[in-house]
């Protein structure tokens, strides 16, 4: 596996293993996300990717191994403590506060992350692009799925994170909406200098955005490197054989 020089503020996973009772979810996974870096994580369903995000954000404990942010060990710390340190995750399914407007959702995000309104003002172009300013007063739960998703993602960004863990941000988005993810990632890296761990199934997105990619299969890290290289490896293709991703790739090429 390729080794990144360990920068003091990097997010590092060190031989992470997780098992629920007898069920091994992943085993001996190690990688480094440098500050302002962008690392893709791919792998067939069930490979443990969401569990990995749950663990790194602090929602679940590790069975063995460590997670480090800079020099501090963060596994086992509560989610809010990690968020306060700048490690924030997004959710695969829409994560917004129902019964509250778009504006209130974003205000809440600012408030909980103890940021002031200036962060929101910096996000304004992005909010405009996603169409969120138009529905500022509408309740989050009545918005179309794509808008809800982007709201959730922008709320995560409103915390002004240093490290973002994105759990399938493009899932459920129309093909036309996926460019928003490019804009989102670009903005996060440019404006906030954010490091991003991108878990995704959309291979085109991965190829476009990620300079480096790691592959999880059956709970193990089986490949790491630039996407062009990794995605043409036989063992990676085999891992996906029969998966929906093949159809996905085909559909997007046709």
């Amino acid at each position: 596996m390729s080794a990144h020089p360990t920068h003091p503020d990097a997010l590092r996973a060190d031989s992470m293993s997780k098992a629920f009772g007898g069920l091994k979810v992943f085993h001996d996974v190690s990688f480094t996300l440098p500050p302002a870096g962008l690392l893709g994580v791919i792998g067939p369903n069930g490979a443990g990717k969401t569990t990995m995000i749950n663990i790194m954000s602090g929602r679940l404990p590790l069975s063995s191994g460590r997670v480090l942010l800079g020099n501090a060990r963060i596994d086992g710390r509560p989610v809010y403590a990690n968020a306060a340190q700048g490690l924030v995750r997004s959710f695969q399914h829409t994560a917004t506060f129902a019964g509250a407007s778009v504006g209130d959702n974003l205000t809440a995000a600012l408030r909980f992350a103890k940021r002031d309104r200036s962060v929101l003002e910096r996000l304004a172009p992005l909010l405009d692009r996603f169409g969120l300013i138009e529905c500022w007063g509408r309740h989050a739960e009545v918005l179309p799925y794509g808008l809800q998703k982007m709201l959730g993602l922008t709320m995560a960004l409103a915390t002004q994170p240093k490290m973002l863990l994105l759990d399938e941000p493009a899932a459920g988005l129309e093909k036309s909406e996926r460019a928003n993810i490019d804009a989102y990632v670009g903005f996060a890296q440019r404006e906030f200098g954010c490091g991003i761990l991108l878990v995704e199934h959309d291979m085109d997105l991965i190829r476009r955005l990620c300079p480096q990619v790691i592959v999880l299969d059956g709970g193990r890290l089986i490949a790491a490197g630039p996407p062009g290289e990794v995605l043409s490896r036989k063992d990676v293709i085999d891992a996906y054989l029969g998966g929906a991703d093949e159809e996905d790739c085909d559909a997007q090429h046709s």
Partner: protein
Amino acid sequence: MSEEAAITRLPQARRPGLLGGYEWATLCVVGLAFAVPVLTRNPQILSQTNLILIAATASLGVYIMLRMDLMSFAVPAFMATGGYTVALLSLRLGVTDAILLGVAAFVMPALCAIPLGWLILRLKGVYFVLVTFVLTEIVQLLLFEATPLTGGSNGLVGMPAVTLFGIELMDNSQVLLTTAGLAFAGFAITALFTRSFRYEFAAIEKNDVLAESLGLACWRYKALAFSVAAGVSGLAGFALVNMLLTAHPTSFAPMSSVTYITYTIVGGKGAILGTLAGAALLVTATDLFALKGELSPGLFGLLIIVVTLLARGGLIGLAAKAVGRLRRASPGAPARVAPITAVPARGMKS
């Protein structure tokens, strides 16, 4: 990414008022209670108003925790703490000033709630239900057992009358005034507290996983709310002990926790007015229909089931829906933007 030079403007942030509509309405209604002893000397009415106010204030202890989807059975325990503290202070130390006693009645339970909150609010929500229920049983036992302190099964009898600026508050009207004062304080504290933290409470109720991942230390707010709820319940305990001039374990029976929960649920758990509405309705109904004490649990049980299945928002929720329907303007108008309110909703909750 857009290349336009124009700066995108965010909609103006609205300055939220100190209190919301429901809060002001409730404080007004409670304020009206001060007028009752002026308007009438009828002991029945005075007594009923007294009971309603005590019940409503106690139920605030349930309401505050329900804002975060936590069901508290601890109200009688904290009422007892407040009530017995006041009784002890007045009987043993001769303290009779209403304001001093009121502060003690709030502070003592609030302090006791802190270690408890630390213990159970970091665990799964169901633990809160289990432990608060058991807690009320323990406190009841302690009240019976710790005879030298609490008077055991006799309780603490013969409390001196409460005084305010030297004036003794002895007769029915004055006792009602004391209760009204305590109730007003309890409601005011609750209103200010829930209003100041409405974002946090609503977020914890709706999606605490999301709130936490954005950086909110949920358990701290829960613990803080638990303390405030305990304090407000303590005020109700003071009022009760003052009305009876006795602190007795049976006033704080464990199953009465169910009664306070019923007032809140039936009245409407979504708004502070709910506890007042529920208490007013149910206390009056039990009295009006001359229901013997034995039948009211059954009635309450039926009401709880009906409300839970058919009208989750309780009375206030139904009223709000009716008003909403009447008010419905043109379709497509943006939803009324109230800062995240805990809209009572049926169905999925995590």
